[in-house]
Point group: C5
Chain length 319, copies 5
Amino acid sequence: MIVSKNLRWKYIFFYAWKSMLYFLCLSIAVYFLHHKFSFIDKLSVPFEAVATLSTALAIFLAFNNNSAYDRWWEARKIWGKLVNYSRAWGREVLTLSMDQEGRPNEELASWQRAMIYRHMAFVHGLRVFLRQRHPYNGIEQELMEAPNDYQQIKGFLPPEEFDEVMSKRNPPNYLLMLQGRDLQHAYDRGWISDYRLVRLDETLIEFNNHQGMCERIKNTPFPRPYSYFGRMFVFIHGTLVPFAFVEELGVWNIPLSLAINFVFLSLEQIGARTEDPFENRPGDTPLSAISLTIEENLKEMLGDTNLPTKLAPVGGVVL
Amino acid sequence: MIVSKNLRWKYIFFYAWKSMLYFLCLSIAVYFLHHKFSFIDKLSVPFEAVATLSTALAIFLAFNNNSAYDRWWEARKIWGKLVNYSRAWGREVLTLSMDQEGRPNEELASWQRAMIYRHMAFVHGLRVFLRQRHPYNGIEQELMEAPNDYQQIKGFLPPEEFDEVMSKRNPPNYLLMLQGRDLQHAYDRGWISDYRLVRLDETLIEFNNHQGMCERIKNTPFPRPYSYFGRMFVFIHGTLVPFAFVEELGVWNIPLSLAINFVFLSLEQIGARTEDPFENRPGDTPLSAISLTIEENLKEMLGDTNLPTKLAPVGGVVL
Amino acid sequence: MIVSKNLRWKYIFFYAWKSMLYFLCLSIAVYFLHHKFSFIDKLSVPFEAVATLSTALAIFLAFNNNSAYDRWWEARKIWGKLVNYSRAWGREVLTLSMDQEGRPNEELASWQRAMIYRHMAFVHGLRVFLRQRHPYNGIEQELMEAPNDYQQIKGFLPPEEFDEVMSKRNPPNYLLMLQGRDLQHAYDRGWISDYRLVRLDETLIEFNNHQGMCERIKNTPFPRPYSYFGRMFVFIHGTLVPFAFVEELGVWNIPLSLAINFVFLSLEQIGARTEDPFENRPGDTPLSAISLTIEENLKEMLGDTNLPTKLAPVGGVVL
Amino acid sequence: MIVSKNLRWKYIFFYAWKSMLYFLCLSIAVYFLHHKFSFIDKLSVPFEAVATLSTALAIFLAFNNNSAYDRWWEARKIWGKLVNYSRAWGREVLTLSMDQEGRPNEELASWQRAMIYRHMAFVHGLRVFLRQRHPYNGIEQELMEAPNDYQQIKGFLPPEEFDEVMSKRNPPNYLLMLQGRDLQHAYDRGWISDYRLVRLDETLIEFNNHQGMCERIKNTPFPRPYSYFGRMFVFIHGTLVPFAFVEELGVWNIPLSLAINFVFLSLEQIGARTEDPFENRPGDTPLSAISLTIEENLKEMLGDTNLPTKLAPVGGVVL
Amino acid sequence: MIVSKNLRWKYIFFYAWKSMLYFLCLSIAVYFLHHKFSFIDKLSVPFEAVATLSTALAIFLAFNNNSAYDRWWEARKIWGKLVNYSRAWGREVLTLSMDQEGRPNEELASWQRAMIYRHMAFVHGLRVFLRQRHPYNGIEQELMEAPNDYQQIKGFLPPEEFDEVMSKRNPPNYLLMLQGRDLQHAYDRGWISDYRLVRLDETLIEFNNHQGMCERIKNTPFPRPYSYFGRMFVFIHGTLVPFAFVEELGVWNIPLSLAINFVFLSLEQIGARTEDPFENRPGDTPLSAISLTIEENLKEMLGDTNLPTKLAPVGGVVL
């Protein structure tokens, strides 16, 4: 997530320079062919033809951006819910389970601690799980990345449990399964009643939902035809633009074409950079920061003092 | 679902070539009639008239695309929820049912296994049920299809139950009915309390909802007037386009008209290819892949090792 | 609901012919007054003025269509939920009520059957209730209508109950009230526990919601100012269109004006035909078909064999 | 709520005549200054400058209308839910409370009646509460108003309770509080179990939500900057319009400018008249009619015969 | 929240004057360079090029405004829900907890009072928590601010509890934790049953959700690329505008360019001022007013007479 109000130019050019270079060369070529060699005299395109495409393109890119933003914002909403229900989980584990005689009960206390720490493992594990990249997205090198490794959840689990979880194809889901098992155990011990058992199970269902919703966004790219044609139309339109004014404008045609193409290209690029929020890139949903918030809140509720250090923005970016 | 970032040209032309051919012939005819025979001299259409239609058409196609995408995305959301509640169902069956005395109970274990395998049958059966084609959609031959046959659920059910289910008009709904019957049985045996019985019933209601929501999308086409007029307007507009520039542009009119028509035609086609997500076509919601994910997750929770092999993308497509 | 991909021309002209006739006469008149009598020489409107209105009109009609579609789709969603919860109701009545000693219990079985048949009466009754027309909508004669009469629910209820229900102003709501009474009776007999009583009541609340949501759409027309001004603007704009090209185009002005007006008029008409989904018209939500689906599913769950015959599309329409 | 399909001209002119008068005078003045005195020869504005603003304005007004309609429709949805849950409340009060021994119980019956009549008081009271006008909305005189007075709820409550409720700043909320008190009383008498007590409390929470959602819409005007700038842009744009065609058109400029301005002004006015749905004006959500529907349904469920008379539309309007 | 229908010019100019000054200087410079020195004769930009950008810009700003408004309205909805559930909380605490023998119970009464007052502390505390500014938003001096200090919640809590809460990084979350602890205490005393304990816990989960949803909006700025490019495009477009008409219009070019730029700049500014609703600025969600409403409602339910004084609008603004 980018928090600084002004974008750095390096972010903008990192993604746009190849296309801008193409448009620059094109308008220079058009200028020379037309004014120096009078080669493409007949080819100057009537501006109205370009304008027709401009309007259609602007509307189409607005739709793409809208959908990309919806995906990004939904991702953020899911992690927001994960924050809320994690806090609720902490409170419920601590206040809905109780010793039947009301005595201090060390076994119960360590069970509560284990349930809450395993939940931290779930949260951090889900983050790692989601940020693994699909080969088909073709992301290579980014300006900035957060560390992303299951080793980071080792401290929240007993060692043998960590190994068991790691052996599964879907570790976060298996962690929820273990939470269910331990609820049954607490029920057997009489710490939670039938009714509170179900209440806690319903909170686990929420986590099932949060995980599954994230996987949905992660595994279902914004329909490729929309983004592919968006990209293609920007190039068709952008290629026609320098022909439209070449006659009237002369050399000023070059910066003007570039300005127009820059606007449309940016509109396309913003959407393309926003539509996948779990790729460990600067504009993504800040999973690391949110995971640490949850860890901090839960530890604070347990009374622990080893609170994690929150990440300060680096280069205007929180990851 | 198409996952590769670049569409293959064969996909694009598979659906668009007939219309593009019409537009090509039309612009060639207009060119010859005008420049060679001066036949349609008076007919050149003022460009502003076309531009009016272009704007209206772009807005209308944006609305169509928006609605088509909403249908597609809702279909994906429903199957996402089916993933989430399937996992929850697995966890609940395994952790909310228990032997009253806390002993290992083989009968209970085999009941749990049956409940979870019948759920896999429900998921695969729903996929098959949804992908049966309505004759009125007129889909004939696709570039790619997934196998779709109720035989694929045979292994998840006892033979006589499979036959019973197959004799019903709505097999997935009947499977949920059987789940309800077996919950009652578990209640009679004392494995689940009154309260947990209702909790499990509520999870079944979720599946009722998922199935019904899919049927709604499947059985209710996007209102035909919208898609019909979208198609018709693209042709009215596209037919006027070559007349608009024929005078100014000469032979260059042909590629320019084609480019403009290609953009509007593509906008219309993308929507038309997206609005029905359950037709077993390349751009559809990937029901086969999601069903296998659910099967894998549930087997992993049961500790089974016969995990299914996930489908790798073929030609950039996951079905 | 129209299911055939191609609209029949009679549907299109049934609603549009009056307006198209006006536009035809107008453009012919403008042509003659201008070219034959040079009467309105000074009056030719600058095309840009029309274009301004065109854009505003296209955007406004897109908003109207969007809202009309939302109403239509919401109506379909509500009836989709009614399908889902009807199935859940069937399952719950059959599996959550039980003889306390686990014996076969004929009284219970006939109570279950009565509860499920009364629900079918509710569904069919709601359909009839919703399709009664408000005089202020001014609908007279349609191309096609489904039979709509409370007599159709007579077979699902005991005779005296049918009469009692018919004496009420809101029969479907009273049927839900009776369901509540019979739940209390089952509770008194010990067939359902306190907890399951409430679970079944919550399913009834769903039906309260479905009914009320349909009544909301039925009784609250899309705000009249929006549709009224939409209609009016189409006429203001359409009246200006023939003046805009009359000079340049001569007699070709007539078909071109008609084409433009046809597009805008259609956009307006589609919305106007979609916004009221419960009027028993060809484009409506197919209440009859959905009611029969529910009846079929419930009878299948009861094991009854008198399944209703589903309606085949007539003239590409399902009602 | 306006139900007649054709708006009366007096509604349209009641709100628009001042602005239309301004635009009329302006175009007449521009005409005379230009054609008679050649005063503003140089000032004629290029039409493209106006067209730029027209497009931006049309898009902005579409956004405003969209948001206004959302507020209006949400208001209607909330009152729709109030209908649904009121019916559910009636059914629940009548069927979830019972004499423990199953005897006819007059005390219980009168408690049920009191609970249901107090709910009618809540509904009518909420209507009165919501329709009180904020001074900052500056509404003075309307064409039509419904009577709005707390005296209308007097008949539904015991006299001393009516006085107590009236002494509170938020009477509807206090009525819900009293409902909660009486539920506790029924629990003490053994008419409702612990579990059903909570179920009824949850229905009360729904009413808390409905009331609060209405208050939110009532007390939070659509952000003033949006409506203020919408109004201002219509005037900036409208003031430029007559200058754009004055040269080409002569005296016909006057009706054409008026027509264009009428369209944009109407678009702005419809939104402004729709955004506040609780002001007791003709276009509002019909609170009086809905309150009477609820009263009728509840009395019908109680078997009472003093059903209220429903309001017929007056002048095409239901209040 | 601004409630007065007319904005004061000082609000408008407070945010826009720097940009307007730039546009003013630019158009004056263009005028002089062109008409006096004939310096930029060749540079006059064809208007169609500007129009292309205008349309794209208008659509993009509409998207930005739409999203900004959604954030603002969601913030208001969350606080609306907080109102609703606060009232429900008051009612539930007062009517769902009871002395087991039905005697007047002073200890219970003081527990109820403490629970409700701690909730007021939660509400006011959440307001203070949310209004703390992030340094990266760079807000310096506003025209108007509400006092925002945790000292304002001191009166609602016992002193030692206040200190404990203040020592936490997330005080509102810790207050909910304490509410959970006290519910357990009430359960131990027998004032609430197992079932009602869970019902009250579910109301606490609502508050978890409200807090977390607000934090989500607070901590996740509207994606910076969208607002950054919106701003940038307004300047690119605005810089081209004076060049487009300079030739035709002469000195009138200056006011016309300013008018066009004012419209686009305002569209951009309204969005930018709306997208962050918790910054203690005039256009924000009125947290102070809503907190006082909750306090008032809860005290009224307790029968307390020290009702807070509601804030009257100051300068047309409620904070």
